[in-house]
């Protein structure tokens, strides 16, 4: 099977958007495009799951529809809601005109009262434009009920609006990315509908390339040292392991401070860019900072 977009091309296009993709990522995206399946991305926080969707939207010029999941997320926040305020005003105006009895259902559930949320916006994407990118971020934070609702949408790429007796089907299949940090096990039904990609912490070479792609002016020695420091930090039993995003933050901080190398004294002041909890900070500061920073 020859893919419409081969992994090399995908990697190149992602690279143009500042996302350095390895072969696994490029193949998974190419397959997701070819098979029209959502891509479920799992892995530790800060390894580039969300930014993959953003980079693909950027490089294709597509609209990114982002749905950030949380506990209690429902259809109203994900799919559509009604502008109740305007509906009530319309009823009162009709009452004032003495025409309330003539109001039809269509008058109150027209497009002007429909508040589109990310899922519906993605389904209503224009066929002339590039396929919209739908990012369902941290889907593991949503409830099981929302996951069940998502199954229907992802399987058919269509949703029903019962108030209008209408089913909205995608005119162009969105490129869907689902991310999860594995704080909850997703159902097998959802997993079965998706292609899967596990994004782990990058190898040092790849991480150096990512830093260079995002911070073109940074010195080679500094990048190498920062990546080595992050590797040593990840080997510690931290409660929150820093990801690539934190590596970039560290490098940005070092650049902002005008440093060309990291010293133990300086490390103490910039650790806040990578460690985000008191317990982790204490563990590192009580350890050997010179060994952490390296030669």
């Amino acid at each position: 099977m020859a893919l419409a977009l081969d992994p090399g091309t995908v990697a190149g296009r992602l690279g143009a958007a500042g996302y350095v993709a390895d072969a696994d990522v490029a193949t998974a995206v190419a397959l997701a495009l070819e098979l029209g399946r959502p891509l479920l991305l799992e892995g530790p926080a800060g390894v580039g799951k969300t930014s993959l969707a953003q980079a693909w939207a950027k490089t294709t010029g597509a609209t990114l529809h982002r749905l950030s999941c949380y506990e209690g997320l429902g259809r109203e926040e994900a799919l559509y809601d009604w502008d109740y305020g305007r509906q009530i005003l319309a009823i009162r105006l009709a009452e004032g005109r003495g025409a309330a009895g003539h109001l039809a259902t269509e008058d109150l559930y027209g497009d002007e009262y429909l508040l589109e949320r990310p899922l519906l916006r993605a389904l209503r994407g224009s066929p002339e434009a590039p396929p919209p990118v739908l990012l369902i971020d941290e889907v593991d934070r949503a409830d099981g009920a929302f996951e069940a609702f998502l199954l229907e949408t992802l399987a058919d790429w269509g949703v029903t609006i019962p108030e209008r007796g209408e089913t909205v089907r995608a005119r162009v299949t969105p490129v869907a990315f689902l991310t999860s940090n594995r704080t909850r096990e997703l159902s097998d039904a959802l997993r079965r509908r998706c292609l899967y990609l596990y994004v782990d912490f990058p190898a040092p070479d790849l991480e150096e390339a990512i830093v260079r792609a995002n911070l073109p002016g940074i010195g080679t020695a500094l990048v190498r040292q920062a990546v080595a420091v992050m590797g040593r930090l990840r080997a510690l039993p931290l409660l929150r392991v820093p990801g690539t995003a934190e590596t970039l933050d560290l490098c940005r901080a070092l650049l902002a401070l005008g440093l060309d190398r990291l010293t133990p004294e300086r490390a103490r002041s910039v650790l806040g860019t990578v460690l985000k909890s008191d317990e982790d900070m204490r563990l590192v500061l009580e350890g050997d900072l010179a060994a952490l920073v390296g030669p």
């Binding site: 020859a2 998974a28 799992e42 009604w82 009530i88 940090n181 997993r191 899967y196």
Partner: protein
């Protein structure tokens, strides 16, 4: 070496215990249609992994199995399947339930070798590969544990009753009353009534608070060798608690123990004890991020910590800070002359975590009675003495 027919791969994977649906089979065959003619073997492996994997475990397992299929490895059943309880009564699914062991075919010259193409790296990296070329795919193989436990007969009905009582005792307070909030779904009826009272000026939307999340209960099971003695009973307890109405999230620290997902004992020392601290840290990094004030966490362990005690201290401090109530259930706590002197329990007591004897249905019932008497999870006062 001749390459097997790609159409045989899904059946081979199923036989090895990896759940592959017909739809995934079609996808896999489509992904492999041009292989091995024009498609790079590594690229083919990446495609297969993307299509067939569903979680990190199968993400690692698929390359191993595909490499074994490629070299024509034979599937044999693991000798001892006793430690594969299938918590929900369904023992059939999931990569971890791969009850088979793949033994390399005699004379197979490519086990983990260079230039093998598919999966050679994964086989080299995996801890299942050994010098004899055997690829151990079974996750549940048991390594010869003793069957002597404090419990000789399992009272399943008693456990189920205790689990029901537990569900009641740990239930957060609920109300059918609609609670107004600044955020949430609009309540059209209440908005209408409010607008009638003010004649619509100014129009104010009345919103309802989102529904209360269901109770969040977690059982962290220590599956190390020192806990082998009561393993059948632990399994039954986990099974009873995982079912409705309790719906407890049962985990071996960071590993999910849903049906068919009981993990092996990789990394657990054969002589007993485990590194509870790092295991808790792994849990807190991942699934533990969902803990909230109303969460009830039970750690089922004998407390035999063999790792760095400072790591356990930090982990327990974080756990107590995040969850509503943390209890330590020890199967040994009720034995004659028991003293909480092992390092895990000493540390737990310092952080205000109660240690309870739970080794059978009756003792679990007594523990639930304590929960009921102390007002369950919501009214639990934390007596945390950080590092005290």
């Amino acid at each position: 070496m001749s390459v097997p027919d790609p159409r045989t791969l899904p059946a081979y994977l199923r036989a090895a215990g990896l759940e592959v649906s017909p739809a995934e089979s079609v996808l896999a065959v489509r992904a492999l249609a041009a292989w091995p003619g024009s498609l790079d073997p590594d690229e083919a492996m990446r495609r297969l992994r993307t299509v067939l994997a569903r979680d990190p475990a199968s993400w690692r397992l698929v390359p191993e199995l595909v490499a074994a299929w490629r070299r024509g490895a034979e599937i044999v059943r693991a000798a001892d399947e006793a430690w594969q309880p299938g918590l929900g009564g369904d023992d059939g699914g999931g990569a971890e339930a791969a009850a088979g062991a793949l033994a390399a075919a005699p004379g197979g010259d490519e086990a983990g070798g260079e230039g093998d193409g598919l999966g050679s790296d994964a086989v080299q990296e995996g801890d299942e590969a050994d010098a004899s070329g055997q690829v151990q795919a079974a996750r549940g193989a048991r390594s010869g544990a003793s069957a002597r436990g404090r419990v000789r007969a399992i009272d399943a009905s008693g456990l189920a009753a205790a689990a029901r009582r537990y569900a009641q005792a740990s239930r957060p307070p609920r109300s059918r009353r609609r609670v107004r909030a600044r955020r949430g779904a609009v309540d059209p009826g209440a908005t209408w009534h409010a607008s009638r009272q003010t004649r619509g000026e100014p129009l104010r939307l009345v919103r309802q608070a989102p529904p209360r999340p269901p109770a969040h209960r977690v059982l962290l099971v220590d599956t190390s060798a020192s806990m082998h003695e009561g393993e059948r009973w632990l399994t039954e307890l986990a099974r009873a608690l995982a079912r409705p109405p309790a719906r407890v999230e049962v985990r071996a620290f960071d590993q999910d123990l849903r049906p068919g997902r009981w993990p092996g004992r990789a990394g657990a020392p054969a002589q007993g004890g485990t590194r509870i601290g790092p295991s808790l840290v792994a849990y807190l990094r991942g699934p533990g991020r969902r803990l909230r004030r109303g969460s009830h966490v039970m750690i089922l362990s004998d407390g035999w910590e063999t790792g760095d005690i400072r790591v356990l201290e930090r982990a327990l401090a974080a756990l107590v800070g995040r969850a509503g109530r943390v209890d330590w259930l020890s199967p040994l706590a009720g034995t004659r002359g028991f003293q909480p002197t092992c390092r895990g329990l000493v540390t737990a007591l310092r952080y205000g975590i109660g240690v309870y004897d739970v080794h059978d249905a009756a003792s679990f019932g007594r523990y639930v009675g304590r929960l009921e008497a102390t007002g369950g999870v919501a009214n639990h006062a934390k007596g945390v003495r950080r590092g005290g």
